[in-house]
Symmetry: C2
Subunit: 213 residues, 2 copies
DNA sequence: CACTGATAACTGACCGTTCAGTTAGTAAGT
DNA sequence: ACTTACTAACTGAACGGTCAGTTATCAGTG
């Protein structure tokens, strides 16, 4: 005869309404980062979050909305952190840029952090609303951070007269590109000494920006 | 009574064995560039090429092989062209770099050209074989092009002593990133003056590389 | 030049599978 | 006993890939 459930047996599941959304977005981020949006199934996200597919749809109306929630949740803090650093900084503009470079690069090199920019770049075409949000709230604000630092340096006579927006784009591109490269190509490419890369970038960039010659 | 087929009536289709593969890869590139690999259906590619799905499978064993064919066909010529330019160049290393920057950027900014790097970055994880090919035959060879020019400049005392490979990565990143940005974000971002961007990059980069101070 | 197979390029209907999203019912919590 | 978080089985649509049949083309024949 079949055993009756032992009294110590754990329940098949628990009701944890408050914890679910974060667990689901965590799982979604991890899987999106690994395999992309289209190639990740909702069932797989659910499984990783320890629930079933139906539960995902209790908290998020669609796979796309889940994606949007992940992007909003996981990218904004990064920007806000940078803005706080910048606002509080009192040293030279070169040093501020050095700080920004290092912090950003450290963050971006984490596979789960660069994943969202990569996803937006790769599969964003299908989600114009989300892309608009991402560009306005992340890309532009991130760039402004660097542009302000450069403008500050020009004002102080520390840097040459250059267009701060262009210079900011040029400052950030190698950081972002290297992070993208790392997740996509690194395993087939020659190894990259990330610290040396960053140091050389800072060196060349600040060298090109310096007010002399 | 039914009309007999008029003698001038065009046949429903033509047998054009030689032309098909190129027509199919053309159509595939256009659609992959627009919507990505996963989101593009073989039927849509076939329709754009003026055939039906079955025909696509007469020429390419699978959708993935079709993708591989597109990548191989459309990226290699770009590299070979750059290598030819570099080999024939006789001026200063700064001028060679200026040339390489301009040529590459012009090519990369064409939406259909940057599409493949973007696709490899975005969906390459699913195709390790293809990614290896792409990295070894395109990414590395492209970088070597710039590294050689930089090494040449260092040898001639024109540039500072820097790691040529790192510098080459830093030289190309802004070009590639801007091209990626253009196809993904540009319609939601502030407009970018591409010529000024390129000029500023050349200016800052060569400024940072110059052998003095 | 007209006719006639023979050949292979091409079609289109079909199949098996996968997956986003739905829902009727079950069990945890109170 | 009542509410609701959660499950699991289901649906309908889409897609990659296949294949039996159709038709354009052409060499060979008279």
């Amino acid at each position: 005869m079949p055993d009756p459930p032992a009294p110590t047996e754990a329940p098949r599941w628990r009701r944890r309404r408050d914890a679910r959304p974060a667990e689901i977005t965590d799982a979604a981020l991890a899987l999106f980062a690994q395999t992309g949006f289209a190639a990740t199934t909702v069932a797989a996200i659910a499984a990783r979050a320890g629930v079933t597919k139906g539960t995902v749809y209790l908290y998020f109306p669609s796979k796309e909305d889940l994606f949007a929630a992940v992007v909003r949740e996981r990218t904004l803090p990064m920007i806000e952190q940078g803005e706080a650093l910048s606002a509080a900084f009192t040293g030279s503009s070169s040093d501020l840029l050095r700080q920004l470079f290092s912090r950003w690069f450290a963050v971006l090199r984490a596979p789960e952090r660069i994943a969202l920019p990569r996803l937006m770049m790769a599969e964003g075409v299908a989600f114009p609303h989300l892309t608009r949000f991402f560009v306005e709230e992340i890309v532009q604000r991130g760039r402004s951070l660097f542009a302000s630092a450069i403008r500050r340096g020009i004002g102080a006579g520390e840097f040459r007269e250059v267009d701060p927006d262009l210079a900011a784009r040029l400052a950030t591109a190698p950081l972002i590109y290297a992070a993208l490269h790392q997740t996509s190509y690194a395993s087939f490419d020659a190894p990259l000494d990330a610290d040396a890369y960053l140091a050389t970038h800072i060196d060349l960039f600040l060298g090109g920006l310096r007010a002399d010659s």
